[in-house]
């Protein structure tokens, strides 16, 4: 379990989090669901140690490795698809092993023919798939995905979701998934935290296993 306890976080005069508590189960997909600007990304970034907090404690992340699918692909434009993934693995494996890992993940996101292409020549969806492959190729314990399907059309979104599901089945990591799309939330997550207000609060926690019908969950989400 990854636990945030009594977390407070301000941005200038804005109090985003005040005595905020949340727990993410290990090897599950947890979803932070809520409107834009409520602090979902901040919560994820606190877990990833990308932002500091004013007060509170975090447990369950000791010695964890992270990977992150950002809202934008965040690829190095001067490197090829292959080298972009290689970039994050270089300190961890030798050349032979890296080759094996990279090509297997490039295959999984179906970009084999594009492995020598620069990001600029790829479509938005393809670039985001590279970012997904990079996140999975990295041997992380915790994977954060911040609206990874935003701005993609239906077809690309489905492709990405399929890629994600395939990759996740290979290795069940602890995933924190941020979205404000109801269907994505229901389709992918085990637990959904509905987050609202300022400072942010968890309005409701939905455990998917306790519901037999997806439509019931959808009804609940629609009321928020």
């Amino acid at each position: 379990m990854i636990e945030l306890k009594n977390i407070s976080k301000n941005f200038d005069d804005l109090q985003l989090l005040k005595d905020f508590n949340i727990g993410f189960k290990k090897n599950e997909i947890s979803c932070l669901f809520g409107p834009s600007g409520v602090g979902k990304t901040t919560i994820a970034n606190i877990v990833a140690k990308l932002v500091s907090v004013e007060s509170g404690s975090i447990s369950g992340i000791e010695n964890s490795l992270y990977s992150y699918v950002f809202q934008e692909p965040r690829l190095l434009e001067w490197y090829s698809v292959y080298d972009n993934i290689d970039f994050v693995l270089k300190d961890l494996y030798d050349l032979k092993e890296r080759k094996k890992i990279i090509s297997s993940y490039i295959d999984m996101v179906e970009l084999r023919e594009y492995k020598d292409y620069k990001p600029k020549t790829l479509s938005g969806g393809m670039a985001q798939r590279v970012s997904l492959a990079r996140a999975f190729a990295y041997p992380s314990d915790i994977l954060i995905m911040d609206e990874p399907f935003k701005g993609l059309d239906m077809k690309l979104k489905q492709e990405m979701i399929l890629s994600f599901q395939k990759l996740w089945q290979e290795s069940n990591r602890t995933v924190i998934f941020i979205t404000h799309d109801i269907d994505e939330a229901i389709l992918l997550s085990d637990t959904i935290f509905i987050i609202k207000n300022r400072p942010a609060e968890i309005i409701k926690t939905i455990n998917k296993q306790t519901y037999s019908n997806f439509d019931d969950i959808k009804k609940i989400l629609l009321t928020y």
Binding site: L50, E72, R74, L76, E77, W78, Y79, V88
Partner: protein
């Protein structure tokens, strides 16, 4: 495609001829070679220079001075620019010095350099002092413009510092460094010639410029000026070609 390239070539020739004829007309009106030589007498002077062996030795030595000063300023400008871009403290430490270098008149530097160095080294030193701030400033700017989102990504994936410098900062700064180097090279040519006029090394374009003033051979002055412009232009082309071959281009 072919037709359009021919058209653009013709256009270029027309533009050149247009400005040369303007020059010719003005020189006709003034009608005094000492104020403004005609295109014809300039060309004649240029033609004569092309058959002198000394011309080529001179070009070689002046090019050596410019290029040496330029390379020195690029090497040190990029090196210091890098560290100053990354470290706020180093930036604050060096910035006043660079600002002074940027604003000090070239002539003051040349005169003080005459006190310190041998004649042939004065232009090199002056070119270095003039080009260094440009390269430094552009490098710092490029480093500071490195995408914070990419840096955040690197932090998340535990990329070591050295590789961040090599793979993120270097490439982010590259377009800025290239632009800085191109303008530094142009300024290098101007400044080297100016310094040569005052320091008068044995083989130097500056010496010829000085002589043409002393002997009132103004067509020679114009001819040498054309040579400097052509050289500067050629070196810039050469530098741009190297950049193109260098692979990553934005």
């Amino acid at each position: 495609m072919r037709v359009s390239t021919i058209q653009s070539k013709l256009k270029k020739i027309f533009i050149i001829l247009f400005w040369i004829s303007i020059w010719g007309i003005i020189s006709l009106i003034i009608n005094r070679e000492i104020y403004l030589p005609s295109p014809y007498s300039t060309l004649k002077a240029l033609y004569k220079l092309l058959f002198l062996q000394e011309t080529y030795t001179t070009i070689l030595f002046s090019s050596y001075r410019t290029v040496f000063g330029f390379i020195l300023s690029c090497f040190l400008g990029i090196l210091f620019g890098y560290f100053c871009g990354i470290s706020r403290f180093l930036y604050d430490l060096f910035n006043p010095l660079i600002n002074i270098m940027r604003t000090v008149p070239v002539m003051s530097i040349i005169i003080i350099a005459l006190m310190w160095f041998k004649d042939t080294n004065v232009p090199i030193f002056v070119a270095f002092l003039m080009c260094f701030p440009i390269v430094w400033t552009n490098t710092v700017m490029g480093i500071k413009n490195a995408d914070t989102k990419l840096l955040e990504m690197c932090k998340l994936y535990n990329i070591n510092k050295f590789r961040i410098i090599k793979s993120v900062y270097f490439y982010s700064a590259l377009p800025y460094i290239k632009a800085g180097m191109i303008s530094a090279l142009g300024i290098g040519w101007k400044v080297t010639s100016a310094a040569e006029v005052l320091s008068l090394p044995k083989y130097s374009i500056g010496r010829f410029l000085y002589d043409s003033k002393v002997y009132l051979e103004i067509p020679d002055l114009f001819a040498w000026t054309i040579i400097i412009v052509m050289l500067s232009f050629m070196f810039e082309k050469f530098l741009k070609t190297i950049f193109k071959l260098g692979g990553y281009d934005d």
